[in-house]
Amino acid sequence: MAGSNPNAKPMDLTLKVWRQKNRETAGQLVTYPMKGISPDMSFLEMLDVLNDDLSVRGEEPIAFDHDCREGICGMCSLFINGRAHGPERGTTTCQLHMRHFNDGDTITIEPWRAAAFPVHKDLVVDRSAFDRIQQAGGYISVNTGGVPDANEIPIPKIIADKAFDAATCIGCGACVAACKNASAILFVSAKVSQMSMLPQGKTERKTRVENMVAQMDIEGFGSCTNTGACAAECPVGISLENINMMRREFISAKATSENLA
């Protein structure tokens, strides 16, 4: 079997899952006993099993977001035992395997909690605020065609690599869920620093940071008090350095604002 541990025994678990009909209705934790869960299952496969059982019994399955199940699309978003994406560091919910739990465990599963991420249903939340922040300035203004040859502007490898590291944010929102203030600063700073590091992004660096930060505030995310909880729970290891960089960008942008709006 792909799962390595042939001795791994099936586990019995107790799940406490947040159920909420829709945005308007209050929700609650509902208890589901689970039997015979293979440690090689992924966390979401365990929920699939539960959902199949619920379906057969004529109960409504638990709604949760997921798509790639490879840790890259950023769609999965469960708050497991009080931690965004569960107990394993550097791991999205979909990449979490049941071998990290023990027989007899009680597992509490909740949606991301943040004023800016209202619950649609059960464990599904509305993260469209993230898209609106990107729309406020998370781009380089070039139209298709009429751009220079890709090798015309060399970029030192070290800069390209750093920009890449910032660019790997999957937009999952775990940073917001992990932060007691529900701040989105790690997410926003990742895009701001990616683009301000690259020569292509420098032209608009001032307006970009001003506009993205303004949108972040409009969306109702909290302010950052430097707890570092975001980076600790970020599944792809977006670093706190990005926040420092964004602060510098922001201060210098404000000092010499080019924002005419």
Binding site: S4, V56, D131, P148, L198
Partner: protein, 644 residues
């Protein structure tokens, strides 16, 4: 129906330029009078929507995820090809064209492929300008690697996350247009029908996945960029939500479906581990650049290994069979995907497979680590090794990975002409959901290239040509055609919700997937296919009698979403089997056991099958009608592919 591929006249290298000159242009002031619907915001859809918005059209874009950034394109790992020849190793537009036609086993259209190779160079420029952080060399210039059987280094990459970075680039361009108000984005919205008025595509009917509301959207042209249909097999490397629904429902409204049986089975995936398994994970084939594929030389050793009597490290060098290097000395581990997959199946069928199921082969990095050191290997493949470790709980630096082929990509799709228009006027298909460029087998790193080529550089021209010839009047969404389509969609949903049977949607999907995998997977034969057709029909009947879809239509209901998709997979599955049965030759990913060389290599039959099989829908349970587009090869000489 006569299939007119509308290939422009003239020498192949001049066709696209000439065509771009010949197409009609829409007056800049008039562009805002036209609405274009783009369904799907993966690489193909996001790039198309952004570019059409930049040009001044009013665009409405749709996706079923909560954000356009999450389309399945995000998961592509290995890279994107382009004929830049930055490495000065002999690449050129013609070579990329040639490799793609040959790699596709001569079942693609020359003119389309040539254009793809031509615009490939613009894609890289565009992405870099958007801030896509491709890998670079110490001199600051772009790095390349050789990928998926290519003998030149033409693949651009961003560590193992190329799809993510390209999609985020296209997403940023899309966001810019959303901010300008030129694109209106509808996430969490699923297209469930195409609306045709006076023979032309004029809109779509969608379901708002949060409220469950059925809504209509009207436009002057509709682009489908809805991805591939590999999930018909249930287990595949595709994202869980990838589906055929948009394309299939367009097919039922008149768009022919081409080469549905051409499926790519990727050789390097993490093997299946249990019944509960929901998807398969691809290990990028860039791993084959340094990893060596092998199984034990004898069945006995393999058996002892599977029983746990010995471990992989106990197997002596001389007892290992590096079967790809042995059989294909020229290409070795870098043979094309179909060849690598089929050979993995062969050695496992012989009983030499590894892992407790025997359905796996080794991919071994020991030599590469010895040669280059662990840090160098980690720098190249670190995130892939990590992913493997997370899933299997094994350390791939210490022992070889186990891999097995899995369904990965679908070369078939909606038939399109040179303009990427389907057989329904005004309906276009781009990216993986069309059939156009990869023939019977796609080369690695060419899907990303095709998606972006279609969206950034082809559609914006060809749609303009269509719109320039049509009045800008709008069809209101209370037109009978819209109302009828809305009612049909609602009726189908209600039907699914009212069956109240005993088996879940996933149970049906898994069973369908097994039929497809067993009879229409890596090897196919007439008897098996005939049997599969009956099985699919039986199961489909049962589905419509006995599926259990809980909940209601007027709210978020993921079971209903899946039920709709599986319902379409059932119909598609039958057509795939029909197509595989019709094509009594082996080519690319389609291996008919009746048609092989004495060395078990695929044997094409150019005399009888050098055509695109485009199928016309005639009703569920009725036989589809086959239309043929003959393929002519003027620039590439047909040869039996050989990677020896």
């Amino acid at each position: 129906m006569i299939l007119d591929s509308k290939i422009p006249e003239g020498p192949i290298a001049e066709k696209w330029d000439k065509h771009k000159f010949d197409v009609k242009l829409v007056n800049p002031a008039n562009k805002r009078k036209y609405e274009i619907i783009v369904v799907g915001t993966g690489l193909a859809g996001a790039s198309a929507a952004a570019t059409l918005g930049e040009l001044g059209y009013n665009v409405k874009a749709f996706c079923f995820q909560d954000s356009p950034r999450r389309a399945h394109s995000i998961a592509a790992q290995g890279g994107i090809n382009a004929a830049k020849n930055y490495q000065n190793d002999g690449d050129s537009v013609f070579r990329l064209f040639y490799d793609t036609v040959k790699g596709g086993d001569y079942r693609s259209r020359e003119a389309n492929v040539y254009r793809l190779a031509q615009v490939s160079v613009n894609i890289i420029d565009q992405c870099v300008a958007q801030g896509v952080p491709f890998a670079r060399d110490y001199g600051g210039l772009l790095a390349n690697r050789s990928f998926g059987g290519a003998q030149v280094s033409r693949t651009f990459y961003a560590r193992g996350q190329t799809g993510q970075q390209l999609l985020l680039g296209a997403y940023s361009a899309l966001n810019r247009q959303i901010a300008y108000g030129k694109v209106k984005m509808f996430p969490r919205t699923e297209m469930l029908d195409l609306v045709v008025v006076d023979g032309k595509a004029r809109g779509i009917v969608v379901r708002n996945l949060i409220t469950g509301q059925i809504e209509s959207h009207s436009a002057h042209a509709v682009v489908l960029a809805t991805g591939g249909y590999g999930n018909v097999f249930f287990l595949s490397t595709n994202a869980m939500g990838s589906n055929v629904t948009a394309a299939w429902r367009a097919h039922k409204k008149g768009a022919l479906f081409a080469n549905p049986c051409f499926t790519q089975i990727h050789p390097t995936c993490i093997p299946v581990s249990g019944e509960y398994q929901s998807k398969l994970t691809l290990m990028s084939e860039s791993l084959r650049n340094d990893g060596r594929v092998w199984v034990p030389k004898t069945v006995e050793i393999a058996q002892r290994l599977r029983k746990g009597e010995i471990t992989v490290n106990d197997i002596a060098e001389e007892d290992r069979d590096y079967y790809l290097e042995r059989k294909y000395p020229a290409f070795g581990n870098l043979v094309p995907r179909d060849v690598a997959s089929r050979n993995a199946k062969l050695v496992c069928d012989e009983g030499r497979g590894v892992g407790s199921s025997g359905l796996a082969v080794y991919l071994d990095f020991a030599d590469a680590i010895k040669r280059e050191g662990q840090p160098a290997i980690a720098a190249k493949y670190g995130n892939l090794f990590e992913m493997y470790a997370k899933i299997t709980d094994e350390n791939p630096y210490a022992r070889p990975m186990r891999i097995y082929p899995a369904v990965h990509y679908t070369m078939g799709g909606l038939w399109v002409d040179y303009n990427l228009m389907t057989t329904v006027p005004g309906l276009y298909a781009a990216g993986e959901c069309n059939f156009s460029d990869h023939g019977a087998n796609r080369l690695g790193a060419s899907a990303l290239m095709q998606g972006l080529a279609d969206g950034y550089f082809v559609l914006p021209y060809t749609i303009g040509d269509y719109l320039a010839k049509m009045p800008s009047d709008k069809v209101p969404t209370n037109h009978p055609a819209f109302l009828e389509a809305e009612q049909a969609v609602a009726a189908k949903n209600n039907k699914l919700l009212s069956i109240n049977g005993t088996r879940t949607v996933d149970e049906f999907h898994k069973e369908l997937g097994l039929i497809m995998w067993d009879y229409c997977g890596m090897a196919r034969n007439a008897e098996g296919l005939t049997h599969a057709k009956q099985e699919i029909r039986k199961l489909r009947d049962e589905f419509w009698r006995n599926v259990k879809v809980t909940g209601v239509g007027e709210e978020l209901n993921q079971t209903l979403e899946r039920a709709n998709r599986v319902a379409d997979f059932f119909e598609l599955g039958e057509l795939m089997v029909d197509d595989a049965l019709n094509r009594n030759e082996s080519c690319g990913g389609h291996f008919r056991e009746e048609s092989q060389t004495p060395e078990n290599e695929a044997l094409r039959d150019d005399e009888n099958y050098a055509y695109v099989a485009a199928w016309e829908f005639t009703g569920v349970g009725n036989e589809a009608i086959l239309h043929k587009e003959d393929l002519e090869f003027e620039n590439v000489k047909l040869t039996q592919r050989s990677y020896k």
